[in-house]
């Protein structure tokens, strides 16, 4: 599903005269198979979120290549990557990233609108997803009227509504209490089992890392040898 080859990335700091580079990722190579749940663990500042942002196409790598579903996404234009994200990827963020002016229903419906689906299909799929994430009663609630766990469920609903084969999750339980966290992890495992969705989860939480088939540790921008617990 995902193949990362000799990926390096650095950020440029300062202005022209005093420009310095800050290496974040160094020569990362990894592979995620379809149907896997893979956790990437590491301390804050280890580069794990940068790795996810590179795979998501939010930033371009300094060196190296990324293949997703056998397509070299590092060569994609911004527009092509956007289409690819819409059709092949779902995102779960730590801070949910819901649009505050949209209801739970509208947030979940958004990817369907962006894809240009008909109103009837959209309604059918959105309601089905609301049921799946257990929020049918809260469909007209705005994010500010939902709890953290409910917001994260809306976020998951939005990530799954187009049934993408790959979900990228950045600290999905970071803003949740332990009970909601446990619920969410069970839900992820269920989705993986039932729908065969591949999950790449970035976390610093050992408990979250353990739900995966394997976990990869990153430290100081490098993969730790033998950390692959497949």
């Amino acid at each position: 599903m995902i193949k990362v080859k000799q990926l390096s990335h650095h950020f440029e700091l300062g202005k022209k005269e005093n420009k310095t580079t800050l290496p974040v990722l160094k020569d990362i190579s990894l592979q995620v198979e379809a149907g896997e749940i893979v956790s990437i663990v590491g301390k804050s500042g280890s580069g794990k979120s940068t790795l996810l942002n590179l795979i998501s196409g939010f930033i371009k790598p300094t060196e190296g290549d990324i293949w997703i579903k056998d397509q070299k996404v590092t060569d994609f234009s911004e527009a092509k990557f956007a289409d690819f994200r819409l059709n092949q990827m779902g995102f779960i963020f730590q801070s949910f990233q819901l649009i505050p002016s949209m209801t739970a229903y509208q947030n979940i419906e958004l990817p369907l609108i962006l894809k240009g689906e008909s109103e009837i299909d959209r309604k059918q799929k959105t309601i089905a997803m609301l049921e799946k994430v257990g929020l049918e009663e809260f469909k007209d609630h705005y994010p500010s009227e939902l709890s953290g766990g409910q917001q994260q469920r809306v976020s998951i609903g939005r990530a799954l509504v187009l049934e993408p084969p790959l979900i990228l999750a950045d600290e999905p339980t970071g803003s949740l209490d332990s009970e909601t966290e446990a619920d969410l992890l069970t839900f992820i495992q269920k989705l993986n089992k039932e729908l065969g969705v591949t999950f790449l989860i970035i976390t610093h939480d050992e408990e979250v890392a353990h739900i995966g088939h394997r976990s990869i540790t990153i430290s100081d921008g490098q993969l730790i040898e033998g950390s692959d617990s497949l």
Partner: protein, 446 residues
Amino acid sequence: MKIKDQFRFIRQNIKKNRVRTSMTILATAMGCAFLIVLASVGYGLQETVVKDTLEEQVVTKIDVYGHESEGNYRPLSMEDVEYLESVEGVKAVTRRNQLRQIPTYSIDEYDAEAMAYSTHFPSEVESGLELSGGRLPENINEVVVGYHFVKHLVKDMDNADIYDEESGEIKSEYLYQDDLIGKTMDMKVRKDVEGEEIYETMSLTIVGVLEKPTREWMQDSNVYISQEIYAKVEEFTGTPGGELGIDPENINEVDTSNTFDDVKVYATNLEAVQGVSDELEEKNYAIYSVVSEMKQINMLFTIAKAGLILVGTIAIIIASIGIYNTMTMAVTERAPDIGIMKAIGANPKTIKQIFLLESSYIGIIGAIVGTIVAYLISLLVNLGLPIIIEMAFQDELPEGLQFSAIPLTLVLIAVGICLFVTILSGMRPAKRATQIDVLKAMRREI
């Protein structure tokens, strides 16, 4: 993303900032209304001038003044008339000769002075000459008179008392009141022989009265005599057209029956006028037609209108600064939402489209409101301004004067300019929206 959904997004966004958007729409509407009202003055005055010109003259008429050969103009002869009649697109060629003295006409104790013309009646009829009563002359002593001729038939012409002191017009009791048709009148012509005035009287029968001229202010009090009577006058005076003040001894040729003072060509329709004019000009005829005058008038007004539209466009450009500002603020405010949309797969093109549509939406609504306002202003100006001017300057304006006219073309031009400018002003903010950094936007750093 479907256009319908994009519009739904825009409506939602506009709802959120109703006051700001309304103010921007208002500014655009004012700019658009200013442009339309300003240019409508050009259109209105053009319409008035064109209407005036067209009403004054028959549009299919071409005046032919003479023929130019080797730098000299000669009057038109019967051969010229025959040629003119043969030109394609010509319906009729009228030819008249004006009597070069003003005869006196008498019916019973009423007298009148009026110009006399000899004319070819069949061609006059073909050109559209109509009678208000009676018939056309059938023999040499029969004449038709102009519609206003009767108003010149006055009793006691030399009496100063015949004029009304207030209006300055002839009192009705001195005017001829009977029907003219069938009446016999005497036409008195004069010649001067060695300082002595000698008169000759010819008895003529009025058989018809011409139709009233189309314009209120036009007067037709002419008498239309036969070519034979015209020739008799020439024979009596011994001068061309019965002209006074020249010695017949010094004139070689008196007979003017083969030449015409006034020749007019009538085209079959408006479209044929240009073709006929071109052909006559090519054959060295000196001509004038209202169509060529219209060309010049229209050219002048086109330049004036273009200038006014240009000035009006400045108002729309000023309004567009408001749109730019509104759109820039909208992009800044919505940056986190844009970031989320981009993250989940919104194409930059779609985002650009949404913002461009939003600025176009403001432009369209502004243009519609502006057009409605402009129509109202135009209506008020046309109704109110003549009253104000009349009150302020104590001066009556010409009848039918239109200050402002808004044809569909002006509305289309204004809406087009408005849309173009508003889309243009929305371009940069829309482009900025596509360039929003997903990560920064999601971290609320923008």
